[in-house]
């Protein structure tokens, strides 16, 4: 890639019948960036994200993720990205270790790599005592952190996080964002959706979707200037109310 963009979307559209869930959105995300993808409920964030991670075929437009086309090279994209969905998607009836082994295994890591990664990961998250406990028995905050770490197991170029901090306490949220920063520092691009506007301030750049369209895009500072607002919360309210 000549330019530094790891995600390039042009006029990306998804129609459900007559309804345009995502209406011709265009944006780029640079390598190593933390990109905040904001919008009200039902604005089309998750649909847009599903097109980028290769599980939903766009109706029209163009998009490249990690240098691969979303229409023709979805499986190549999947090798290069991590994804953490809105719903907790690890196996509740497997232990912490077993989940790590399983997802490491299907991403093609060797037994040795899996073992090493599992040890480091469990130590970093402080999960030594519950390594052999079923994941279903862990508190939500721990689950979310584990889920994020698992999505980074195969060292993806980009990690997509769909409302990763929904329903967790402020302390855990802070720890979570520390993890996001750490990943970004190591060169991983982070594409994150959130409803917490204080989190939007942590992002390098944010876009705000309203009714399927991107209505604003830029650094938090720029957006605040553009909309003459003190904080991102006001920016969001001005935009979302129309």
């Amino acid at each position: 890639m000549k330019n530094n963009n790891v995600i390039e979307a042009q006029e990306l559209t998804k129609m459900f019948g007559d309804f345009a869930a995502v209406n011709a959105i265009s944006f780029n995300v640079k390598k190593g960036e933390i990109f905040g993808f904001l919008g009200a409920n039902g604005a089309g964030k998750t649909t847009a994200m599903k097109m980028l991670i290769g599980i939903s075929i766009p109706t029209s437009g163009k998009a490249k993720v990690a240098g691969f086309d979303v229409f023709t090279q979805a499986e190549d994209i999947k090798k290069n990205i991590g994804y953490m969905s809105q719903r907790f998607a690890l196996y509740d009836d497997l232990t912490v270790k077993e989940n790590i082994t399983f997802f490491g295994g299907i991403y093609g890591l060797s037994r040795k790599q899996i073992k090493e990664k599992a040890t480091v990961l469990i130590e970093e998250l402080g999960l030594e005592k519950v390594a052999n406990t079923l994941v279903g028995a862990l508190p939500l905050g721990w689950k979310q952190k584990l889920s994020f770490s698992v999505s980074l197991l195969h060292d993806p170029k980009i990690v997509f996080l769909d409302e990763p901090t929904g329903g967790v306490d402020p302390i855990t949220r802070r720890q979570f964002w520390e993890m996001i920063y750490k990943a970004a520092n190591q060169g991983t691009t982070v594409f994150v959706t959130t409803h917490y506007m204080d989190e939007a301030e942590y992002c390098d750049r944010v876009s705000i979707m309203v009714n399927g369209k991107i209505e604003a895009l830029g650094t938090p500072k720029k957006l605040k200037e553009q909309f003459k607002a003190d904080n991102m919360n006001d920016v969001f309210l001005k935009l979302a109310r129309g």
Binding site: I55, S85, F102
Partner: protein
């Protein structure tokens, strides 16, 4: 290949960790085999028999005694009049009613012939038919004796010519219905358990959201499906083994043919069922939907498999339909190999059709499983 092993490992862990599922897989089938095989009988026994004796002669008593001696008729009620007997039949207290006319003995002596009245409750047509045969046999036997007596009285020179048919029953000499039913019910177990387990499995991952996570990984469709279905294939073969052992130990069902052939056929047959299960789970969003569809097909497949009712007596169109029923072939093969000792070439047509079916169903299943929508 390594990826598949990871999936298989995960599936087995989840199956054996699911406390609600284990008894369904291993205990229920055994109970079913024992209960169904003992209860699902075609034999008509314990027929409630009543009679009206208007003659009160030694001949009429001899006739009633014949019925009394039969093991099929067990309750003998004597009714004073036809009206009371009819009322009893209406209430279901009597299945077969014999009416011996006035002067039965005298007319038999004088005219060498007579008529008996037989009324059979025919709500269950099949049972009524069988009861009719029993009654006819008993009356015929009685007739034979009477003829002898009558002839001896009137003409000692002429000996009656008796033509007797002696039926030979092959493959199930004692006409033991369990020998016939057990292999069929074994088919049921293997089919139902594997169909339900595989049908619900992927839908369950859809419901809890883990399937989406899987779809975002670079895993190949075929790897995922093989990894998912292999554990259920193993369970199906395990069920067959348990069932065959029980059939031998509890029901003493013979195994005349080759056990290896039985396993070969079953290994292909289970693939058909797993393919159907997977196909169902690809087109449903909840386990509930999958369950209903799986039930719908199992009920039709079972009733049209020749397990309970012979295919030969179905209407032509229904017979054509049974050609698309995998259970039909399994029932045929099971009975052929176990009871007749059929060999590889005998079951080749069934084997071929099943293999083709497996190929088509699994092709459809892999095709309809979409990682991208």
């Amino acid at each position: 290949m390594k990826t598949i092993l990871y999936i298989i490992q995960k599936e087995f862990k989840q199956i054996f960790r699911n406390k609600g599922m284990l008894p369904i897989i291993f205990v229920l089938p055994i109970l079913q085999l024992v209960i169904l095989s003992n209860a699902a009988t075609f034999e008509v026994k314990n027929i409630k028999f009543g009679y009206i004796d208007n003659d009160h002669s030694s001949t009429s008593r001899a006739l009633v005694e014949k019925f009394n001696a039969s093991t099929y008729f067990n309750v003998l009620t004597v009714f004073p009049s036809e009206a009371i007997a009819s009322a009893a039949m209406l209430k279901g207290e009597v299945d077969v009613l014999l009416e011996i006319p006035n002067y039965f003995e005298r007319d038999l002596q004088n005219e060498k012939r007579n008529n008996l009245g037989i009324t059979i409750n025919a709500i269950d047509g099949a049972a009524a038919g069988i009861e009719n045969v029993y009654v006819t046999q008993i009356v015929q036997g009685f007739n034979q004796n009477i003829k002898m007596d009558v002839l001896q009285v009137s003409d000692k020179q002429i000996q009656p010519i008796v033509i007797e048919t002696i039926p030979l029953f092959w493959y199930n000499k004692t006409l033991n219905y369990k020998t016939f039913m057990v292999p069929g019910i074994l088919v049921l177990l293997v089919t139902m358990i594997t169909l339900f387990l595989s049908g619900m499995n992927i839908v369950r991952e859809k419901e809890i959201g883990t399937l989406e996570q899987i779809n975002v990984t670079p895993i190949k469709k075929s790897q995922f499906i093989i990894g998912k279905l292999f554990p259920f294939w193993v369970i199906g073969m395990g069920l067959l083994t348990v069932g065959l052992i029980l059939a031998r130990l509890i029901f003493n069902v013979p195994m005349l043919g080759s056990l290896a052939l039985m396993y070969l056929y079953t290994s292909i047959y289970i693939l058909v069922i797993l393919g159907i299960g997977l196909f169902i789970s690809n087109f449903t969003d909840t386990q509930q939907q999958a369950m209903f569809i799986a039930w719908f097909f199992t009920v039709i497949f079972i009733l049209m498999s020749g397990l309970f009712t012979p295919i030969e007596s179905m209407p032509k169109w229904a017979q054509t339909l049974t050609k698309f029923n995998p259970i039909r072939y399994f029932v045929e093969v099971m009975r052929m190999v176990m009871l007749k000792g059929s060999g590889f070439t005998d079951i080749l047509p069934q084997l071929f059709k099943t293999a083709l079916y497996a190929f088509i169903m699994n092709g459809l299943a892999v095709w309809s499983y979409k990682k991208t929508n």
